[in-house]
């Protein structure tokens, strides 16, 4: 079973003249243990795709399944539970809670999910150590650099027992060394069976993926996993 299945998904933002067709008939599957990167120009629908996969937004048409569960069939409460339990999310704008320390930000999803404070704190510290931030566990986001905040957001997404990690430009503010460290971390999670969908503009980071899907105007135009078919581009040839 795939960790994530999108089948013929449409997402139209707004209505009437203002309607934006952000996704058109998009079909994407991510197997457990697979790392899939999504690339495409600004506005091609990458964040919309991640929002649908994470149950933060609903498809206008088509099917979105996480671990075989159709998200469209879930109540808001069930959806929130699935999000906390199964999905780790790195947002394009990070979304750290300013009043909480790094460790509190990372342990929050576990505590919301019923894990006791002490084991949650231990798991948070382990995740922070993996992104090289163990010394900053008690800092507030405002007192950290952009790259450090980004790594806290990554630690929050990979902490605990998630089956799906969705990461929107997680390496944007990182230098190449730290970016590579994050890619290695995501690869290790995949080796342990987690499925990851990664949005990035950086080809060097996308190249860590098993497959790269190219989005254009809300549709997948190519997939490096598909074998190439050479055909003539000249008519009459």
């Amino acid at each position: 079973m795939n960790a994530l299945d999108l089948h013929q998904v449409d997402r139209i933002h707004g209505q009437g003249n203002a309607a934006v067709h952000a996704l058109r008939g998009l079909t994407i599957h991510v197997a457990a243990g697979e790392l899939v990167a999504v690339m495409g120009p600004s506005g091609s629908g990458k964040s919309t795709l991640l929002n649908l996969a994470g149950g933060l937004d609903r498809a206008t048409a088509g099917s979105v399944k996480v671990d075989g569960v159709e998200l469209g069939d879930l109540s808001p409460k069930e959806l929130a539970r699935l999000r906390r339990h199964k999905v780790g999310y790195v947002f394009q704008d990070l979304n750290l809670i300013p009043a909480l320390t790094a460790a509190e930000n990372v342990s929050l999803p576990l505590e919301l999910d019923g894990v006791r404070r002490r084991p949650a704190r231990a798991a948070a510290e382990a995740a922070l150590a993996e992104v090289g931030l163990v010394d900053l566990a008690d800092r507030l986001p405002a007192d950290m650099s952009g790259g450090q905040q980004q790594r806290v957001a990554i630690a929050r997404a990979v902490v605990g027992d998630r089956s799906l990690i969705l990461a929107d430009e997680p390496t944007g503010a990182l230098d190449s060394e730290t970016g590579e460290q994050v890619m290695r971390l995501l690869r290790d999670r995949c080796a342990a069976g987690v499925a990851t969908l990664l949005v990035t503009h950086d080809a060097a980071h996308a190249a860590w993926a098993d497959r790269i899907v190219f989005l254009r105007d809300g549709a997948a135009v190519d997939d490096t996993g598909a074998r190439p078919v050479a055909e003539s581009l000249l008519t009459g040839a």
């Binding site: 790269i212 490096t224 581009l233």
Partner: protein, 195 residues
């Protein structure tokens, strides 16, 4: 790529015979530019003719070894000292292909760009996998060659994005060109002349 200079550089370590040179060359460059043994021998013949290397006494197994001459050492030193100029590099087929494609009527240049993008991305994936492989396959020399190949692939992908942007811009300029231009080029009204 300069095979003669590559062989001279390897001989700087001491005398070697043909198969040994080929093995050392491939070790240092991670088999990126595979050499066939015929190329090695013909290059050795030329280097000997030019006085840059000289044959040594054959080894126990009767293999012909070569050593650098003083002239060979100085040629090698000059090669290392000089920057690689643009003229030393082979013509870039991809740049030529896209340049010509952009002027060939009825061709979907964006499709060419996308096909190339997928191919180059696959190559970057392969190179990245090699980079992740544990252990020291070719040592520092190979790892530097590998980094060069990765950075070149990245640069090519950036250039393809740039080409696509330029093509889209050119296409939309084409569409929005004011019709006035065509009117100006149109022949005079025929009524005037008919009179």
């Amino acid at each position: 790529m300069s095979i003669p200079h590559g062989l001279l550089a390897l001989l700087r370590h001491g005398p070697m015979y043909g198969y040994q040179l080929r093995a050392e060359f491939e070790h240092a460059t991670g088999s990126t530019w595979p050499l066939n043994i015929g190329q090695v021998y013909s290059t050795l013949t030329r280097l000997e003719r030019d006085g840059l290397i000289e044959p040594q006494a054959t080894d126990d197994e009767g293999r012909q070894r070569y050593a650098l001459t003083a002239a060979g050492v100085s040629t090698l030193g000059e090669w290392f000292a000089k920057p690689v100029t643009h003229a030393d590099r082979p013509r870039d087929e991809l740049a030529i292909k896209l340049a010509l494609a952009s002027t060939t009527p009825g061709l979907d240049v964006q499709a060419i760009v996308q096909t190339q993008r997928v191919a180059t991305m696959r190559r970057l994936q392969d190179l990245t996998r090699l980079k992740q492989e544990p252990g020291d396959v070719g040592g520092l020399a190979w790892s530097l060659v590998l980094d060069h190949l990765r950075f070149s692939a990245e640069a090519e992908l950036r250039w393809l994005d740039h080409c696509e942007g330029a093509l889209l811009k050119a296409a939309s300029a084409e569409r929005t060109r004011p019709p006035v231009l065509e009117d100006a080029a149109a022949p005079e009204p025929t009524e005037e002349r008919a009179r």
